[in-house]
Amino acid sequence: MFNHLLLDIDASTIDWSRAQFALTAIYHWLFVPLTLGLAVIMGIMETCYYRTKDEFWKQTAKFWQKLFGINFAMGVATGIILEFEFGTNWSNYSWFVGDIFGAPLAVEGIVAFFMESTFVAVMYFGWKKVSPGFHLASTWLTGLGATISAWWILVANAWMQYPVGCEFNPDTMRNEMVSFAEVALSPFAVSKFCHTVTSAWIIGAVFCVGVCCWYLLKKRETKMALESMKIGAAVGLAAALLTGVTGHKSGMDVAEVQPMKLAAMEALYDGGTEQGLKIVEGIEIPYGLSLMATNDPHGFVPGINDILNGYTTADGKTEISVDEKIERGKKAIAALSGYRAAKFASSDDGSIAAAHLKVLKENMPYFGYGYIKDKNAMIPPVAINFWAFRVMVGMGCLFILFFAVVLAGAYQFPKALWKKRDITALPAWHYWVAIALIPLAYIASESGWLVAEFGRQPWTIQDMLPTWASVSDIQSSSIIITFFLFLILFTTMLAVEINIMLNQIKKGPQL
């Protein structure tokens, strides 16, 4: 993975830039999903207060809003650093993507600032200042604002995985947006958003149930813990089931536009029809992969070797080999060079430039392949993708079971099973298991990102630009310094958050 680290200056610049971006994104993603998940849970709790006017629900909602606020404060602005990194470490990429990437990020910044700064203030300061209905709306709109922010960020990320709605302009060297709707409503973005947000709700729910179990372990705040647990488990079960459904749609999208990622996720070297889904190497669910990728148990799924050598699908669609793509990529880059030389030469009447432009447009879908020297560089890290995918899916299945059991216990359903057991007075290890699931939920979520981002290697923009063409020509030493600065900064912030959070949990709600 980081095989070039510290070996020579150019290669280490690429690896350190990637490592720094990964570090920043991973830390940022520790805060975001809890914000999205707790937003739903605290919204439901305040809705209970609005409907019942019971002071218990008001204090319960306030307690969870306090934990939401701590996480929100720690996470705010950590994503800005990613934008700094684009301008410094990834300048070729930043210029090349043009406003396609900038537009969603700008919308995100504006929406996030106005929605969140307005409604967060009403949520925390407005209990005695605004009507209960307006306060409830503000609480839900705070969550909606955070979710809309996630939408625009994921639109930007989805475009890198599946670039649509754009046209390359060789004069400005930028991709220009030709359809905002195509970019904003790309099917890949929709699937990614649904899968990511529903998985974030799981983290909020696991956190909620885990905190409740801590209270039950300490035999305090029992009513609040039980009622919160019911909401947390219900949200969690719904989210875990939805994550499965949205994950299936995401899998189909990946199979269609990033088949190499899917092949790496499955360590599938030689594909075909009726492919089984590996649980681990040697044990598989018959037809599972074909079903996951194509919605058809007999569907064709290409393997790594098929993609490298070219293949024909069952419906007769031919995908050319990587060698042919490399040739076409080289033609595109040569045509770009020729076009720019002719454009700035006084001797050309426009015909030479026009001829180069025609060749460039014909081969532009393969532009990025022109940078590939060895076709094996097209294979993403298989082991990481294979295991990260299994951790994500395995934990997802575990959470479905976990939330179902918690919900059944909280509602004593079925009565026959639970009549001699009280979920508020179980042996301690039950509660410890629930608490231990909190970090595992984060591991599952981060594993999802590993699959998404390692699986698309070597591309920063799918088929258009590999990492080594995207990175700036800078010394790796400056990146190494900021890498460790970030490590210290983020770890400190995380420690501060955990400390403040634990103190507030120990204090408990003001019931």
Partner: protein
């Protein structure tokens, strides 16, 4: 000032809210320290705009040269 007016009530919401913060004071302190580190230290000393420094008047030309040369 009209105390029932929208502007007064909006001002009062923030003013009163900030004045009576308890945990919020700690969180705002953390946010301000973080923003200072991000914008006054990291952005100024470590994250300059690479293209603006390298080719302030011809960013497209610089990127074109880079992307063409790296394919060689």
């Amino acid at each position: 000032m009209n105390k029932k007016g929208f502007l007064y009530r909006a001002f009062d919401l923030y003013y009163d809210g900030f004045r009576h913060m308890s945990l919020g004071r700690t969180l705002w302190t953390v946010i301000l320290i973080k923003l200072f580190i991000i914008f006054a230290i990291l952005k100024v000393f470590f994250f300059s705009d690479f293209l603006k420094q390298k080719a302030p008047d011809n960013e497209a030309g610089y990127v074109a040269t880079e992307l063409i040369d790296r394919a060689q």
